[in-house]
C-alpha cells in the first residue's frame, strides 16, 4: 500500500501547478482521469459478476484520488481506504461506506443544531460560532479524511475536493453518455430502453 501510494505522488512539481480550480478543470486532467476510469471500469467487469454500483463508485473515486496524485488529504484518505479493503471481494471504500450512513445523519445533525441554536437564547456571536462550527464538522465528515481538520485546512481540502468532484461528474457523465450512445447505435434492442430511462433520470438529477 505504501509503495503504491508513493507511486501516486509526484517526485517534484506536478504538471498542473496552480489553484485547485484550474488544475482540475484542465483538459489534461480530464483525459488522465477518463483513461484511468475506463481502465478501472474494465477491471470491475472482469469478475463477471453483476457490476455493482458500489464497485463502480469505488473505482471512480480511487481513480479520482489517483489523478490527484496524493497531494491532497482527501485523495490520500481515499487511496488508503481503498488499499485497506482491497482484499474484499466487494471493493467498498471504507470512507464511502461510513459516509453513506452518515450523510443523512450529517444533514439531520445540521438541522438539529440549527433548531437548537434557534431555540437557545444565547448571544448572537456565540450562536453563530456554534453554527459555523457545526457546519464545519459536517463538512469535515463529507470530505474523506478530513474529520479532524481545522477550519483553514478543511476549507482548502474542500475546495480541492469540490473541483475534483466536478471533474469526476463531468467525466463520468461523458463516459456514460458515450456508452449510451454507443449502445443506441449498435443493434441491441433490450439495452436501449434502460439506457433511455437512465438518461432521463439523470437529466432530472441535474441541479
Amino acid at each position: 500500500m505504501g509503495g503504491a501510494k508513493r507511486r501516486g505522488k509526484p517526485a517534484g512539481a506536478a504538471a498542473a501547478a496552480g489553484p485547485a480550480q484550474t488544475k482540475w478543470r484542465s483538459g489534461t486532467q480530464e483525459r488522465i482521469y477518463g483513461r484511468r476510469l475506463l481502465d478501472a471500469l474494465r477491471a470491475t467487469r472482469l469478475p463477471q459478476t453483476q457490476p455493482q454500483p458500489r464497485a463502480v463508485k469505488a473505482a471512480a473515486d480511487s481513480a479520482l484520488a489517483l489523478t490527484a496524485r496524493g497531494q491532497s488529504r482527501w485523495s490520500r484518505a481515499i487511496l488508503l481506504a481503498g488499499a485497506a479493503s482491497c482484499r474484499r471481494r466487494v471493493l467498498v471504500k471504507a470512507g464511502g461506506k461510513i459516509r453513506r450512513h452518515r450523510r443523512p445523519q450529517a444533514r439531520a445533525a445540521l438541522e438539529a443544531s440549527k433548531a437548537a441554536a434557534a431555540a437557545s437564547a444565547g448571544e448572537p456571536p456565540v450562536l453563530k460560532e456554534r453554527k459555523v462550527k457545526d457546519r464545519l464538522r459536517v463538512l469535515g465528515r463529507l470530505v474523506p479524511g478530513c474529520r479532524k481538520l481545522q477550519a483553514p485546512d478543511l476549507l482548502e481540502e474542500t475546495a480541492d475536493y469540490m473541483a475534483a468532484l466536478e471533474m469526476q461528474v463531468k467525466t463520468m457523465r461523458a463516459l456514460a453518455d458515450a456508452f449510451a450512445a454507443a449502445q443506441l447505435s449498435s443493434p441491441q434492442p433490450p439495452s436501449q430502453a434502460p439506457e433511455a430511462s437512465a438518461a432521463g433520470d439523470e437529466a432530472e438529477m441535474e441541479r
Binding site: 517534484g12 489553484p19 485547485a20 481502465d39 455493482q52 482491497c86 459536517v138 481540502e157 475546495a159 454507443a182
Partner: protein, 428 residues
Amino acid sequence: MEMNEKNDADLEKDQPSGHNQHPSFHGPGFSTEAQIDSSTNALAAMGNPFPPGLWNPPGQNFGLSETNTNAMITGHPFSSFLGMLSAAVPTYAGPSGFMDCGTGFPSLNGGNLGPMMDHPFPRNQPLGSFQNGTEPSREIEMTVDEGCKDGVSLAADRQQGDTEGSHGVDASKEFSKPGCSGGVCQDEGPSVSSAKKRKRSGQDRGVKHVQEGSQQLATVVAKQEKDNDEKDGPKRPISASRKSNGKQTEDNSDAPKEDYIHIRARSGQATNSHSLAERVRREKISERMKFLQDLVPGCSKVIGKAVMLDEIINYVQSLQRQVEFLSMKLSTVNPALDFNIERILSKDFFQSQGTPASSAFGFLPENSHHFLHQPKHSQAALHGIVNPTDAFGRVTNAQMPNNFDGEFHNVTGMPFSLFNDQESNVEP
C-alpha cells in the same frame, strides 16, 4: 544541547555556521539545514499529520541547502547561506511545489508559503543567531499555532532577513514552527527574547498578502515592539531588537519585498499578539471561504459563514449524489458492452473529452468521421483528425484491451489494478 549552547554564545555575533551545519536531529533546536534535512524525520517524529512524502517536492531544495551550507563555513556565513536559502525559497514558494503539496490554493500562488506553514515543523532555534543580520522582510510566516509565541527563530529570522536581503531564513522559518516548547525557547537568552518578539510579529504576518509593503511591516514591527515589551522575558534584547528593528524598518522601506507575507496591524485594533494571530487565522479562513464561494455556483450573493457553509455542504452532497448516480448508470451500461464497442467508445470518449458531456447525445460513435459533421464536436474532431484518427486510434485502442487483459488477470483488487495501470500508462 551543544547546539543551543553554541547559539547562546553566538547570539551577539554572526556565527550561524556552527548550528547550520549540524543536520543532527535534536528536539526543538534545529539548525536550518537540519530542519531541511530532517524535515521528513521531524515530520514523523512530531507526529505530523501529513506523511513525510508530502515534502518530496521541496526535496530538491535540500540538496541545495546542504551544499551551500558547507560552503558557508569558509566564506561569509550569512550571505552565502542565506543566499542559498533564498534560492531555495523561491522554489518553495513556487506554485508547482507548494500547490501540489496539497494546497492548490489560488491566493497562495504568489509565493505564499502559508499552507506549508501549517505543518508542525520544529522551530528553528539556531536562527536566533541571525539576530544581527537584517534580512529582508521576506518572511513566509506560518500561523499554524497562533498560540505559540515562542518563535525564536522566526523573530530572529525576520530581523536578519532585512539585512541579508535573502530569503533563506524565511525558508528556515517555514520549518520553524512556533510550536516549539516555550521552555526551550526561553533558554535561548537574548536572542530568544528578541526572536520571540520578531517571531510574534512574523507569525502575525501570516500567510496573506504577498504584496504587502515594507512600510506595513514597519508598522507591525513597531507595534510588535510595544507588545513585546509587555511580554515576560529578558530585557536585554529589547534594546537590541529595537535597534535592529529600526534598521529593519529602513531596509524594508528601501526595498519592497515581493514575497513578504505579513499582516498589517490595522490602526485602532488590538495589537496584542493573540488577537493579531487570531486575526490572521480569521483572514485565512475568510479568504478560503471567498474562494469556495467562487467555486460553488450561485453563491456570489450569499454573505455569512454559516449560510455559505450550508451551501457548500449542499453542493458537495449533491456532487457526491451525482457521482453515485452516474456510477449506478455506468454499472448498468457496462455489461452490455463488448470490446469492439469499447474500442470505439474509448476513441470517441477521449476525443470528446474537451466538450461538455451533454453534447454526447448528438454524435454517432460508429465512425470517427462522423465527428466532423457535428458542430459541437468540431473542435474535438480536429483533435482526432490531426492524428491519423482511425489508424492511431484503432491501434492504440486495440492494444489497450490486450495489455489490460494481461495485467488485470493478475489483479486481485481495484487499487492494484489502478496502480499497475498508472505504471503502464503514458500520461498525455
